[in-house]
């Protein structure tokens, strides 16, 4: 049984907008930590360029879900998604992509690359139910 599944769900929220980070943090209450862009998110997950040391493995292992904005400077949410899916350690962690723009080709591209869900911004209170359900499902799958 995977020990991580027994802990409090832990979400990494990636967004370049300060207000949106605050709102996602509140939506997910005690279970989230934040990153302001793709590069920082990768470093947090131990997938950074300079190949992080093992102290980040514990941190990365606690992450049950990653929720990221699509439009970000430097690296888009889609590019971040690809990097996560390429990693043997992180590829099974569900990634949720958010965007303020409802572009079907963008949505399909992300889903095809393995995103769990695509959510439209601004996020609503009811979206938290969908996210929690997603976390719960993932925890159940991990435990089995």
């Amino acid at each position: 049984m995977d020990v991580a599944a027994m802990d409090e769900p832990h979400v990494l929220a990636v967004d370049d907008n300060l207000i949106d980070r605050k709102i996602v943090e509140k939506l997910l209450k005690n279970s989230s930590c934040k990153a302001e862009n793709g590069q920082r998110a990768l470093e947090y997950l131990g997938l950074g360029d300079d190949k992080q040391n093992s102290s980040n493995d514990n941190q990365a292992r606690k992450v049950n879900m990653i929720i990221t904005d699509y439009c970000m400077p430097g690296m888009t949410g889609y590019e971040l998604l690809k990097k996560i899916k390429e990693s043997s350690v992180m590829k099974d962690v569900p990634v949720v992509i958010m965007s303020s723009e409802n572009v079907p080709t963008r949505i399909n591209k992300c889903l095809e690359e393995g995103a769990e869900m695509f959510m439209l911004k601004p996020l609503k209170y009811s979206d938290v139910k969908k996210l929690r359900c997603e976390l719960l499902c993932n925890a159940v799958v991990k435990a089995s």
């Binding site: 907008n17 300060l18 605050k22 303020s100 911004k121 601004p122 996020l123 609503k124 209170y125």
Partner: protein, 162 residues
Amino acid sequence: MEVDQLQRNFLEYTNLLFREGFLDGQFSQLQLLQDESNPDFVFEVVSLFFEDSERLLNDLTIALDQQNVDFKKIDAHVHQLKGSSSSIGAQRVKNTCIAFRDVCLEQNAEGCLRCLQQVKQEYLLVKTKLEALLRVRVPHLFSLEQQIVAAGGAIPMLNDFC
């Protein structure tokens, strides 16, 4: 003043702001997130919005003042402002940002200057109204929200916008 009356005033004022288009349903979403564990949540987010917006408006002013206007940079700033205003429900600011981005695409510097003026105006308007609702700058006057809380009441919400 009695809690009931205060709550009615608060609802009426919020209702007015919704009717006049200053706020949209997203503001109610923020109110839904506020609870005993984080009783100042709406105030905190709105304060962050004020700080962030003022920084962006300042950056936009500087960017438009350059000899060679960098429209990509301008678009990036406006995109940020559009995102934040959308997330807190500041509808008129958001709509002005949408128009601003269109003008930016055309690479029309004069048009952008006009849009910037408009965004600044809309921002100042919503700022004044939100301050009245949540907190007032004049210390001896209490905002509607503060009065309700002081009298032991809960902050009411418009059911239509839940």
